[in-house]
């Protein structure tokens, strides 16, 4: 699903190239409105003059600066994750080539940091491409148009992802209680490291690989989105409430705002396995999307 596309003449597809470049620019520099709302409303919960308040104020200021100056919100522009829905018979290979070119250009322009490193030699490719970078998840659908969602997920928060296998002596059995305790442990361990306040994407079930993948996909939901499954909606809310009573606070400085949201999905599992996979996202929760028209133009911006 990932590839290094050959250098390509993008002149064949200028509209799609421009659309994707603009998608990258927006994603790296403009935090989505729903995330901004959550950060802003958290500010008033913290004690005046506390380190927690200082942290949230600086974050608020940073969000404004990045947007105004069209510069990256965070210097770690992260793993570049494209989630693409395409109509049947659409040329996904060509999309991948154009998107890879757009990534190269965005790196040159400073919207993205040089973030792709050979895992054996340690050499940075310098343009964000190479085996596994960028990442593409393609899905076909029966709609007539292409929809592209892009998420940039930084390394600091990615390092705090965790996967639990239930039952577990400390967390409990294969039920929602066990799941809840596992997620709370992840929040405890992630403190200070993943640039909180954080947002969690969780997958209950799946295998180790698909579980992590689906946990990340939960982060494509908006902050306000409520789970259609009532038991999971309750759990999502309870996790946020408990996390915010932990006292961890922004940056782990202590305070009331530890978690801004928790989004949980499920996948079926094998009878023998029960994984809880948690994708931890930092406050710099960069996700944007675009609906692409027939000529490659941006028809509608998402989020």
């Amino acid at each position: 699903m990932t590839a290094t596309a050959p250098l390509r003449d993008v002149s064949a597809d200028p509209a799609l190239f421009q659309t994707l470049l603009e998608l990258i620019r927006r994603t790296s520099t403009q935090l989505p409105d729903d995330v901004v709302r959550a950060v802003t409303s958290a500010r008033k919960d913290e004690a005046a003059g506390s380190n927690a308040e200082v942290a949230l104020n600086v974050i608020g200021c940073n969000i404004g600066l990045a947007r105004e100056s069209s510069l990256p919100l965070c210097q770690d522009t992260g793993t570049i994750l494209f989630y693409v829905h395409t109509p049947v018979a659409y040329d996904q290979i060509e999309f991948e080539e154009v998107a890879t070119e757009a990534v190269r250009r965005a790196t040159k322009l400073g919207y993205l940091r040089q973030n792709s490193v050979d895992s054996v030699t340690g050499k940075n490719t310098g343009d964000n491409t190479g085996p596994g970078s960028p990442v593409f998840h393609f899905h076909q659908w029966r709609e007539p148009h292409v929809e592209v969602k892009l998420m940039l997920k930084g390394g600091g928060c990615e390092n705090m992802n965790a996967q639990y296998s239930l039952p577990h002596p400390d967390f409990g059995g294969r039920d929602l209680k066990g799941v809840e305790n596992a997620i709370l442990d992840c929040i405890l361990q992630a403190q200070g490291q993943g640039c909180g306040p954080g947002i969690l994407g969780v997958c209950i079930g799946g295998d180790r690989g698909s579980g992590y993948g689906y946990a990340k996909e939960q982060l494509l939901r908006t902050m306000e989105d409520t789970n259609s499954e009532p038991a999971l909606a309750d759990l999502e809310q309870r996790i946020v409430e408990k996390a915010n009573q932990s006292g961890i606070g922004p940056m782990g400085f202590g305070g009331k705002t530890t978690l801004l949201a928790c989004k949980i999905g499920t996948q079926n599992r094998l009878p023998a396995s029960f994984f809880v996979s948690v994708a931890y996202m930092c406050w710099a929760y960069r996700r944007r999307g675009v609906v692409v028209g027939a000529e490659g133009e941006a028809r509608e911006w998402l989020y």
Partner: protein, 188 residues
């Protein structure tokens, strides 16, 4: 708000306490994983680090004409340097580290022994940090790749919070213990 100027004196560092907000003016050297690793392997740092601050940061740098310009420069996770940081304090006399997430016992002990502090910048606040970087005066070890190189930054009023001091105190340790107790009480 306490104003600091680099290079730092031992006394100015020992006067700081966990929870203090400081602003820094002067030279900062970036250094992260590969730099610490290379120093640990025995290579001498290319700059005099005495009294200086190492900033755990992999900035976005763009060359405009002959000049490097810093486009984004927030802190990176410091715990990755835990195996090496105390050596750099001991052998090269750095007085401060800026990063995020705090560091462990080895570094905390070195802070006390050699007179150094850990300063926490606001993670992810790359533009706020970059705004106080007034100049990029040079770079060493570019062969490590741009995010891993040693960038010579000149900063004015760079804000950070003292989370580990030279008196053996660590805000990270305190918050971790407290939150562990609280979360245990909230267990399902």
């Amino acid at each position: 708000m306490i104003k600091l100027e680099t290079p730092l004196t031992e006394q100015s560092v020992r006067d700081l306490h966990v929870g203090d907000t400081v602003t820094i003016t002067g030279r900062l050297y970036t250094g992260r994983d590969s730099v610490h690793h290379r120093i640990h392997e025995g290579t001498k740092p290319p700059v005099d680090l005495k009294g200086q601050i190492i900033y755990h940061c992999g900035p976005v740098m763009v060359k405009e004409g002959d000049q490097w310009v810093c486009k984004a420069a927030g802190p990176t996770t410091s715990s990755r340097e835990e195996p090496y940081q105390f050596e750099v304090m001991r052998d090269y006399g750095i007085r401060g580290v800026i990063g995020k997430g705090g560091m462990g016992e080895k570094t905390l002990n070195a802070c006390r022994e050699y007179g150094a502090v850990y300063l926490h910048a606001i993670g992810g606040a790359a533009q706020v940090c970059a705004a106080s970087i007034k100049r990029v005066d040079g770079v060493d070890w570019m062969d490590l790749g741009s995010p891993e190189a040693i960038w010579h930054l000149w900063v004015e009023d760079f804000m950070a919070i003292v989370t580990m001091d030279a008196h053996g105190q660590s805000l990270h340790k305190n918050v971790f213990e407290e939150s562990r107790t609280r979360l245990a009480a909230l267990k399902a």
